[in-house]
């Protein structure tokens, strides 16, 4: 009885919460639903005849989820997703609420595609029993919340062990270029179905593995790992310098990815087939997101078993149409200038954003926003692990704001920045005006905000009528 009315109660709470303007009402209904009906995820997910895909990573899960949703829709699936970026257990529950309302049979080809927080993945997998698990990367991030990388790796290992034991087939789509992840997936055993993706374009290799690397030693023998080359953080064509451990052979690979600041053309090999994705999503990190999405689409469709095979050209076209998720390379026109918003939440992500920004013609104008609220991580020491130096060299102006802007200013000072180009503006509103005002006509101001700073910026932009309310986004 309680379970029967739970969705109704939960939806009413969501509607009320939205009207009260509290957090867009995207997760509160899920909290209520799980409280009233703890089995809601399991039962609702079980009604999806095509099953579910879960996507987790330190970086890229929101964008990849959008990509997979668009690809799946193009392949004819009826998709349920948690697109608002609420990616904890309650967010998945909230996304499934709509299914609970529908008494009638769901259409054939009903598929769930869920972005899941790295620390919530084990709980969601144990309830949603996904058929496809996409594991993209693990970088050091919010150590005060997640703990060490090793702790997350251990939870993911347990999650995979449990997933393998569940009834029904599971496909893991995994990033072969992440040494920790690749060794983790391989340690589960040979009988697990894996699609490996990675990069094979040496022209986009880095000179060296970034400072904030979390994969310097072999997980089998503790000897150093060599990257030849490294592509992004500790992602790369890796091999142990001592034992036979090395990157698994790629099933799906980035053949080439050459990005400008506003987009790129990614050539992809999937098995024997080649596709080209022309996308407005800039940066090598998005090329990784695209091959992960191709892997997810193939894994989903394999279960359906289309007679003529998955139409990869359909997938390529759909992926090329995916627009940036909010704050992930989103561009907003303001008069004669433009904002490019690049969520900045951990060292590897910011390093990659800086690389993407520097693909633009110089000089660059930067608005960096550092908060230390719960969703950002309370510990701001991570900004010292970011390699700001190349950005500082090219920055005409660095406007700093946010609750911990002073820590950013110190970071810039000790990186030998020309402090006459660095300014701290406490109020985000005024900081935005400073950055825009100092940039010439037709210039792009690149914004690097932490998560809550991005929400603050969003509120300001909404207040100025420049963007729609984020929660209305579909």
């Amino acid at each position: 009885m309680l379970a029967a009315v739970a969705p109704t109660v939960a939806r009413a709470v969501g509607s009320l919460s939205r009207r009260l303007g509290r957090g867009g009402g995207t997760t509160l209904p899920g909290v209520v639903l799980l409280r009233l009906d703890p089995d809601a995820i399991e039962r609702s997910a079980g009604r999806l005849d095509a099953g579910s895909v879960v996507i987790s990573a330190t970086n890229g899960k929101t964008t990849t989820t959008r990509l997979v949703v668009d690809a799946a829709k193009a392949l004819g699936y009826s998709v349920t997703t948690n697109r608002a970026g609420s990616n904890l257990e309650r967010g998945v529950a909230a996304a499934l609420l709509d299914l609970g309302r529908r008494r009638a049979e769901l259409p054939v080809g009903s598929l769930g595609v869920f972005e899941v927080d790295e620390a919530a993945l084990d709980a969601v997998v144990s309830k949603a029993h996904p058929r496809v698990i996409v594991l993209m990367n693990l970088f050091r991030d919010q150590l005060d919340r997640f703990g060490e990388l090793e702790t997350l790796l251990e939870r993911w290992r347990q999650m995979l062990t449990n997933a393998r034991a569940q009834p029904g087939p599971v496909t893991v789509v995994a990033n072969a270029d992440d040494p920790n992840l690749a060794e983790l997936v391989r340690s589960i055993g040979n009988d697990i179905d894996v699609i490996w993706f990675g990069c094979n374009d040496a022209t986009v290799g880095l000179d060296a593995v970034a400072h904030a690397s979390d994969a310097t030693t072999c997980r089998r023998c503790d000897h150093p790992i060599r990257h030849d080359p490294a592509y992004l953080g500790h992602l790369g064509a890796w091999a142990c310098t001592n034992c036979e451990a090395q990157r698994p052979p790629l099933d799906i690979e980035i053949v080439s990815a050459s990005s400008t600041a506003t987009g790129q053309t990614v050539k992809v090999r999937a098995g024997e087939q080649h596709i080209v994705v022309a996308t407005p999503l800039a940066g090598l990190h998005n090329a990784y997101n695209i091959v992960a999405a191709v892997g997810a689409a193939l894994a989903v469709d394999k279960r359906r078993g289309p007679a003529d095979g998955t139409s990869l050209s359909t997938v390529a076209t759909a992926l090329g149409r995916t627009q940036p998720a909010f704050g992930r390379g989103e561009r907003v026109a303001i008069g004669t200038r433009e904002l490019s918003i690049l969520l900045a939440k951990n060292p590897t992500g910011v390093n990659q954003n800086i690389r993407t920004v520097l693909a633009a013609p110089d000089p660059v104008h930067i608005l960096a926003m550092l908060n230390d609220r719960t969703a950002d991580g309370r510990d701001v020491s991570w900004v010292w692990d970011v390699d700001w130096e190349p950005l500082i060299e090219r920055a005409q102006r660095l406007t700093l704001t946010g609750d911990r802007a002073g820590d950013l200013a110190l970071r810039m000072k000790y990186a030998s920045a020309d402090m006459s180009r660095v300014v701290v503006v406490d109020e985000a509103d005024a900081a935005l005006d400073d950055a825009l005002g100092k940039a010439p006509d037709n210039a792009t101001v690149h914004v690097l905000p932490t998560y809550t700073a991005m929400l603050d910026l969003r509120t300001i932009l909404t207040g100025r009528g420049l963007v729609a309310d984020q929660w209305d986004e579909t």
Partner: protein
């Protein structure tokens, strides 16, 4: 009082920088380098990793940061071969800074969560046992090392509970967990050695501690008593003031 000279160079022994760097330890190194540079001096950074041997007569300043448990295990085994040199360096009056995982390894023994006992350098008379919960959050302490009751701010995140033997604490906890969440001590110090759980990193927002360590290092190399020229620390003080508010103190 000896004047510092442009030719003066501090020789830094940076231990396991590629493994022990989890809480932005390189920020501390950047502070050492820049605060010398701004005074016309320089820092010579020598990096030491697994298998390298350390000559204690060759360094004025030593640094060991924090690492993940897996790296800390590897480092602990190797430190056994460097422990004599590090203790000799400390006895000789070189400055040493051990942060987070560093202070755990600077003690006699670190017992991990799985019950394994790792031998430490033994340069500080303390022992650490991993607890079942992590002590996480902003922290402020008061130390008398560089003048009476100087406030030091930072962030701590450690499972280890450290208990001091015959050694002074680095400071008294004003707000936060400190060594063991019980006795209000934070860190440890002897001679020119400091061990602490404070990262953030430690030195950018606490320039007095940075300058204390640098003056110790210069004294070790060039003798006499060193007084460093003041620098413009407006930004440092401002960031320090904001960090204070995170533990409920007034700005």
């Amino acid at each position: 009082m000896n004047p510092t000279l442009p030719s003066h160079t501090v020789r830094l022994c940076h231990l396991y920088p590629e493994r022990m760097n989890i809480y932005a330890d390189r920020g501390n190194i950047a502070v050492f380098a820049n605060r010398l540079k701004w005074r016309g001096m320089s820092l010579e950074i020598r990096e030491f990793t697994l298998g390298d041997s350390v000559d204690p007569s060759d360094h004025d300043l030593y640094y060991l940061g924090g690492g993940q448990d897996r790296d800390q295990d590897l480092v602990a085994g190797d430190l056994a071969h460097k422990a004599d040199a590090l203790r000799a360096g400390a006895d000789d009056g070189a400055a040493q800074l051990y942060v987070c995982g560093g202070i755990q390894l600077a003690g006699h023994r670190y017992q991990t969560a799985s019950g394994e006992s790792l031998a430490g350098v033994g340069v500080l008379d303390l022992e650490t046992v991993a607890g079942s919960t992590r002590l996480v959050g902003d922290i402020a302490i008061s130390t008398d090392l560089c003048g009476p009751s100087v406030e030091v701010v930072g962030y701590e995140n450690h499972a280890g509970r450290t208990h001091l033997g015959d050694v002074s604490p680095f400071g008294q906890v004003i707000s936060g967990h400190g060594n063991n969440d019980a006795d209000k001590t934070e860190g440890a110090t002897r001679d020119r050695v400091i061990g602490t759980y404070l990262h953030g990193p430690l030195l950018p927002k606490n320039p007095q501690i940075a300058d204390l360590l640098l003056s110790w290092a210069l004294e070790h190399r060039y003798g006499g008593r060193v007084e460093l020229a003041p620098l413009d620390d407006t930004l440092e003080k401002s960031a320090h003031a904001v960090a204070r508010t995170r533990v409920g103190l007034d700005r």
